[in-house]
């Protein structure tokens, strides 16, 4: 701020009085701290991050080609089913991607059933879909029984223990789209899996602070504390200068 009384011009960057210079310096200092703290940290996060795959993606990558060519052994097929359940359980999955994942999941279970039981399984799933469509209560016995039936059967096929969260989730991804691995699934499955199972991580995301991942704590908690602090510093300093100026005048 310039307080040149001769021509009455104000310019933040060219102050002429001592108080104006002081105010400009404080403002620039606070804005710099503010900008570096907010944007500088995010840029740092961006620079040092690395794409890290979840374990499920590593497993998927190791078996997908064999499963696609129907050359996978039982264990590889089981791993394939389990790897698909991880993105399926995620809430962020879009409807289009969910369709791809569900086709792969249901097809892989269908293929794992013995030929003699494939038709029965298909019928059971269709019946389950009907029950779900007309469900009045989550406690309905036929719904609970159907879920338990699938958990028992499919957990054996996919080698999922009862202690695993996957065991609980088995029935929720079932659909009747199971007899073929669609062309869309063949084309998109790898990219869909990568979309949901690769995450940007770094030392800042993997370090824990007060229970938080550090970067999360920094943005959600610390920055707000800093903002209040910066505002307090500005008010405190400005008040002090104003008081001093008044005392000088007096």
């Amino acid at each position: 701020m310039d307080t040149n009384k001769d021509d009455y011009r104000i310019s933040f960057f060219n102050p002429t009085t001592k108080s104006a210079q002081r105010n400009r310096n404080l403002t620039i200092w606070l804005v710099c701290v503010w900008a570096v703290a907010v944007f500088g940290f995010q840029i740092l996060l961006r620079v040092i991050e690395k794409p890290i795959p979840e374990k499920a993606l590593v497993v998927f990558d190791s078996v997908w080609a064999k499963v696609q060519n129907q050359q996978a052994n039982t264990e590889e097929h089981q791993n394939f089913i389990k790897s698909l359940m991880v993105p399926l359980a995620k809430q962020y999955v879009t409807d289009a991607d969910r369709k791809v994942l569900e086709n792969a999941y249901n097809w892989s279970i269908y293929m794992a059933y013995p030929d003699s039981l494939k038709e029965t399984f298909q019928g059971q799933v269709k019946e389950f879909m009907d029950i779900k469509a007309n469900l009045s209560s989550l406690d309905a016995p036929e719904y609970l029984n159907a879920k338990q039936l699938f958990r028992t059967d499919i957990s054996k096929i996919a080698d999922i223990g009862e202690e695993s969260i996957l065991f609980e989730l088995i029935p929720y991804f079932l659909s009747t789209d199971m007899t073929n691995l669609s062309q869309e699934t063949n084309d998109k499955l790898v990219s869909v899996m990568k979309t949901y199972l690769i995450h940007n991580r770094s030392v800042l995301t993997d370090t824990s602070f007060l229970g938080f991942p550090f970067h999360y704590f920094y943005s959600a908690i610390f920055l707000l504390v800093l903002f209040v602090g910066l505002c307090w510093i500005y008010c405190f300093k400005t008040d002090r200068w104003e008081k001093k100026a008044k005392a000088d005048i007096a």
């Binding site: 991880v86 202690e163 996957l166 229970g211 938080f212 959600a220 209040v228 505002c231 008040d239």
Partner: protein, 557 residues
Amino acid sequence: MTTKMKKIYLLSALFLPHLLFAGGGVDLEEGFKVGPAIILITILILFVMVGIVFRAKDTTDFYAAGRGISRVGSGMAIASNWMSAASFLGMAALMYGAGYHGLAYVVGWTGGYVLLLILMAGQIRKYGKYTAADFIGDRYYSQGLRAVGAIVAILISISYCVGQFGGIGLMFKWIMGLDYNLAVIIGGSVVLIYTLISGMLGVTKNMQIQYVIIIVSFLIPLFILTFKFDYFWLLPQIGYGSTVTDIVEGVKVAESTFANSFGHSFAYLPTPEYAMPWDTGTGQTFFQWMAIAFSLMVGTAGLPHVIQRFYVVPKSSDARWSVVWGLFFISILYWSAPAYAAFGKILSSNPEIGKLSKDAIVVYTAQLGNIHPLIVGFLAAGGVSAAFSTVSGLLVAGASAFSHDLYVKVINPQATPKRQLAMARWGTVLMAIIVSAIALLELALIAQLVAVAFSLAACTIFPMFLLGIWSSRSNKQGAIAGLITGGFVSVVALTYFIAGKYGTTLPFHDFMSYYLGAWYFAWIGAPLAIIVNMVVSRMTKETPIEIRKFLIEQVHS
């Protein structure tokens, strides 16, 4: 139902909480909820009573509450005015739906206060005008700019209000079991009546009460949730950190000893995408994070109803300290909102729950966490209060722009104060009708709708205030050129947004929709408007000496 039966039902409802939620524990949405409805009605009556007791007696009262509010009181009013449905409901919704990306809104909606304080607050108070358009008209010595400023202020208020009406509609829907459209109309009518009765003096007093209700209603369920799920409950804003880590790393069935109200266990598959930055799984990018944070911060310093709050404090130092207090009070809510998202994430993780309305996740989280229905009702009423406090301030700001800046200063300078007040009230009614109509379209999430207002303010009002205060070189021609630039960027961004919503594909649609997103187009619009303002000002006639003199002697003295 006979009167006696009604009495028995009401008494039972008070003592038997399970009766308060019609439809049983598994129903999150449907049915009229007696307890929450009683709490909501009680709070609304309280607001109206306070509004009546402290009602506006003349135009000075209506616009600026007689300039008799203390620093802390003004800080509470700033916080209450600020903590809208977007903060109360929308913030958790964004975190729930997009994880770390949602923190761009937390940071953006708080960091902007630093800019507002160090660049503007004290100077705005010293300038001594009632409204943003008043400042623009006087500083840029142009009745035309005053009128455009008033129109922009009205547009910003409308855009901001749309999200609030959406929030009011959602909460009225949840409490009363009404259809969303009907809930928006009823809720909108109530807030309109309340604003008309009270004006800003009542609004300011109410804002202090509303702040207490908002923050208490928001924090109580959070303490209970952190206690219930065995996190550090004494300070839930820190305690939920372990919840975030649990979401990232997963909770095994064997480690889970809790269940939600559906009986689903607290077990959880690892979900790093919730906390990891700009995760592809959330569909959000680094650029969007930065653009949103920047746009919201700059927009904060350009919102007419926020700027207007500085006129209601006695001195410029009070204006400054009211920002500190206001930001601290705001931060209490913003430190807490992500906790709801984190709890909501785990409690709704079972696919059986299905897709929940993100904007109501705060209330759903409390329900899924088996919180007492009366407390959930209080929480929902707090959400309504948050929307009410902001809407009333916005309606007053919009009505002020309509009546004071457009009608009195441009159309009819001879208007009597009585006529002026009547115009303010008609302006309020008109705005409420327009806002309700747009809110019924459900164009986006609450917080995203509100973010549009921020970008709009950042592209139009912020450059004029920033340069108007800090550069005497900035003149009428520069302001007009800057406004046209910022306005053009805004119109282009909003055109692509609306076209996309209605399935129309415009040229370069993907490119434009990404780089000029409706909630962050100010990342480019605001700097462009500032640069154009400065360049054109340097090329044209200097600001008149009496304005430069006023700036030095009054604003920067």
